[in-house]
Symmetry: C2
DNA sequence: CCAAGAATCTTGACAATGTCTAAATCGGTG
DNA sequence: CACCGATTTAGACATTGTCAAGATTCTTGG
């Protein structure tokens, strides 16, 4: 009856493993993440997670999907209230960088190059969903005549790449989180007006 | 006398470990990299590498330094012959992406977030050296009046971030290497002329 | 209602790995 | 030439991912 009673069946082990894995990732990084450790933390036998995740890689794949879903939510929230295009881009980039700063290990898992064939499609879907909102920003800008013409996909890649690159620099410590806010605004400004004089 | 005779002392084990580690990284990825495996490949006892690399992390740090040195050389070579600013940027980005495509695992090691305090300085130095040439590109462009004014460091970060982000997308498979060449030119073009209309 | 059958979980085992310690070997220096 | 530090070896240990076999619970069809 009580929540704490020990049942043979956990109830929702899969979700619990994912939740705990994200915690470990955020608090202790990727190498600290072990299936056995998670099982221990959840008070479950060491092989229990294997019923829900074939591999350790399968867990990483699931973490990547969950990560892109959450990143998408964060960016949606950041773009709930709208201002000028520049302001919106800054808000979007800021949300992205906050996410990267708070979950650096998760971000590197999300962009790891070892997703299985099957989950690759699921991840691609989550990626598309996550990046839909920021890309829409640019198409709307084009509709208002504020953004240069051209395939919005292409223009979007440039913006996303710049932000993702900045996130990598922050995550690897070459740029401190304190610097990142200023840099972010400079990057958006540079993107907006271009390099050529 | 011959090279293949088995000596107790290897001669230059440290360099041999680094070389082999890079090979494994390129051919089989990061999880396939094991200290014992490398020792086995070199015909040396399993604990021999520990004399040259305290940790597995110390090996990763050394790999990161070597990686940035090589990346710097690659970019220097790409910028040996110069053309227009746009051509130079494309050449630089192309070299960067080729490096990223050929050594995706190494690149993620280079931008990993777990470098030890001591080697952090050495890595930062290698990073600065590697990115010196592309940054100089922009200062020269400013001198010729082809590039907008402003702190070249700041402008450089935008360019580097965009390329690095694109490299991440390629490395994680969201962009195929075939697409990357075209995208690269589009990204440079977008950077040059900006988003605002 | 209840008897399969599927899903979930446990226990036990195995090979591999990173790391530590003590001992053996080698190279150079006084 | 003896000695000392650097290098390498051998052995051991805890930890981990994964597999196989069995126990327990849930579900579902008859």
């Amino acid at each position: 009856m009580t929540e704490t009673m020990t049942r043979y069946h956990h109830g929702d082990l899969r979700a619990a493993v994912l939740r705990r894995a994200e915690e470990v990732l955020r608090e202790s990084g990727t190498d600290a993440l072990s299936l056995r450790g998670i099982a221990r933390d959840l008070g479950v036998s060491h092989a229990a997670p294997s019923a829900h995740f074939r591999d350790k890689n399968a867990l990483f794949d699931a973490l990547a999907v969950a990560g892109f879903r959450r990143l998408g939510e964060v960016m949606d929230a950041a773009l709930a209230t709208r201002g000028s295009l520049t302001d919106d881009l800054v808000a979007f980039a800021s949300a992205y960088l906050d996410f990267a700063t708070d979950n650096p290990a998760l971000l590197s898992v999300m962009f790891a190059r070892k997703h299985s064939e099957t989950s690759g499609a699921e991840i691609a879907e989550a990626v598309a969903a996550a990046f839909a909102h920021p890309t829409a920003l640019l198409t709307e800008g084009q509709a208002r005549g504020e953004v240069v013409d051209g395939d919005p996909e292409v223009i979007g890649v440039t913006v996303l790449a710049a932000i993702q690159g900045l996130a990598t620099f922050v995550g690897s410590g070459f740029v401190t989180p304190e610097q990142s806010q200023g840099m972010l605004e400079d990057v958006v400004a540079t993107l907006m007006r271009g390099l050529a004089r």
